[in-house]
């Protein structure tokens, strides 16, 4: 019974991941390449600075033996990665769907699918993104990967828990102030909770390691590279490039979650309609016909 939903959830998730990959391959990959080129140029400029001053600064080691060529990363790696992401999100989505749909059987499947996909997009991606946005290659210091991972996961966890609390609060309020007002108050609860978390968690640039090495900058976005006399020898990370990358990151997540909402919603409607004809079966049917019917529905 649940398996029919789970297969479809995974399948739609995989499809969503592949659609997001098509979008990413066409629109985002040129900018990812630009970011990698920026990083290479900056490393070269840094090295010549270091050679001039003959003091060994931190080398990023980006040139250390390529494991996969850019062509593999750009065409296959990102495709496999986004398909896996879609599959995993489809799995989590269908689990949430099955739990909530049993709790609230009155909700129409495609409405529930759309609401859950919206909640997933906002709580698993958009809110964490608002605090710690997706970064292109060249943005992000190797030394802080551990701290950044913990902070990002903490932001996801807080945002998901806040979403659950907000929905529970809205359900509780619905009987008192009506559905519409309860939804608005639930949204307010969510925003206040994640807002507090965003205020308390540190900006990436303010991590101890970053402050010591790069000064008081809020983010890890590369600043202009300066020679000892203060002249800029290599520009800061291009603002337009950063915007494009992040904007397309949001859109590709929208593609994935919209696929889940619409695709799974449509399939769940059909599934919810089909078992209706199984129900009158048990008392009247002969054992033989029961078995064959069960075999066809399985």
């Amino acid at each position: 019974m649940e398996f029919r939903y789970i297969y479809r959830g995974l399948g739609v998730g995989l499809l969503g991941g592949l659609l997001a990959f098509v979008f990413a391959r066409i629109f985002a990959e040129p900018f990812i390449q630009d970011a990698i080129d920026y990083e290479a140029g900056r490393d070269a400029a840094q090295e010549s600075l270091n050679a001039a001053a003959s003091h060994g600064g931190h080398s990023h080691g980006a040139e250390a033996a390529e494991v996969f060529s850019r062509s593999v990363q750009r065409n296959v790696g990102i495709g496999v990665g986004m398909a896996i992401f879609g599959l995993a999100m489809g799995g989590l989505f269908v689990v949430a769907y099955l739990i909530v749909s049993r709790r609230y059987p009155g909700l129409r499947p495609r409405v529930l699918a759309a609401l859950l996909a919206a909640a997933g997009f906002v709580s698993l991606y958009l809110i964490p993104f608002a605090k710690y946005p997706a970064n292109p290659p060249a943005v992000g210091h190797e030394e802080t990967i551990g701290e950044r991972s913990v902070l990002y996961l903490a932001m996801i966890a807080i945002s998901v828990i806040s979403m659950v609390l907000a929905v529970l609060a809205a359900r509780w309020l619905a009987g008192r102030v009506g559905g519409w007002n309860a939804s608005l108050l639930g949204a307010l609860v969510f925003l206040v909770l994640v807002g507090i978390a965003m205020g308390l968690l540190p900006a990436l640039g303010h991590l101890g390691i970053n402050k010591a090495e790069y000064g008081n900058v809020a983010t890890e976005t590369p600043q202009p590279l300066r020679a000892p006399d203060g002249t800029i020898v290599y520009p800061g990370f291009p603002a337009d490039l950063l915007f494009r990358f992040r904007f397309y990151s949001v859109i590709s997540q929208l593609v994935l979650w919209a696929t889940l909402a619409l695709g799974f919603g449509a399939l769940a409607e059909r599934l919810a309609a089909s078992p209706a004809r199984e129900r009158p079966r048990p008392a009247a049917a002969e054992p033989g016909t029961m078995r064959s019917e069960a075999a066809t529905t399985a």
Binding site: F3, G9, Q73, L92, V95, A134, N135, S149, Q253
Partner: protein, 70 residues
């Protein structure tokens, strides 16, 4: 004397493993495992030592999906 109490306590805590719960739990667990290898392994933590094949293969996806990357 103590047996009934123990039994009732045990019964209140039991969480029967139905096929539905097993299916949902397994789906969620495998999904999280996939996300771990896609987003985090061979970055902040690594299950396969200092190998970087997963990291490098899904490198662009990791950046683009918002996971922290080197």
């Amino acid at each position: 004397m103590t047996t009934p109490i123990a039994q009732s306590r045990q019964r209140s805590v039991t969480f029967p493993l139905t096929a539905r719960r097993a299916a949902l739990g397994l789906t969620a667990l495998l999904s999280l495992l996939l996300l771990y290898f896609l987003g985090i392994d061979q970055g902040a933590t690594s299950l396969f030592g200092s190998d970087t094949h997963i990291h490098e293969f899904v490198h662009d996806a990791r950046h683009f999906l918002g996971f922290p990357c080197h």
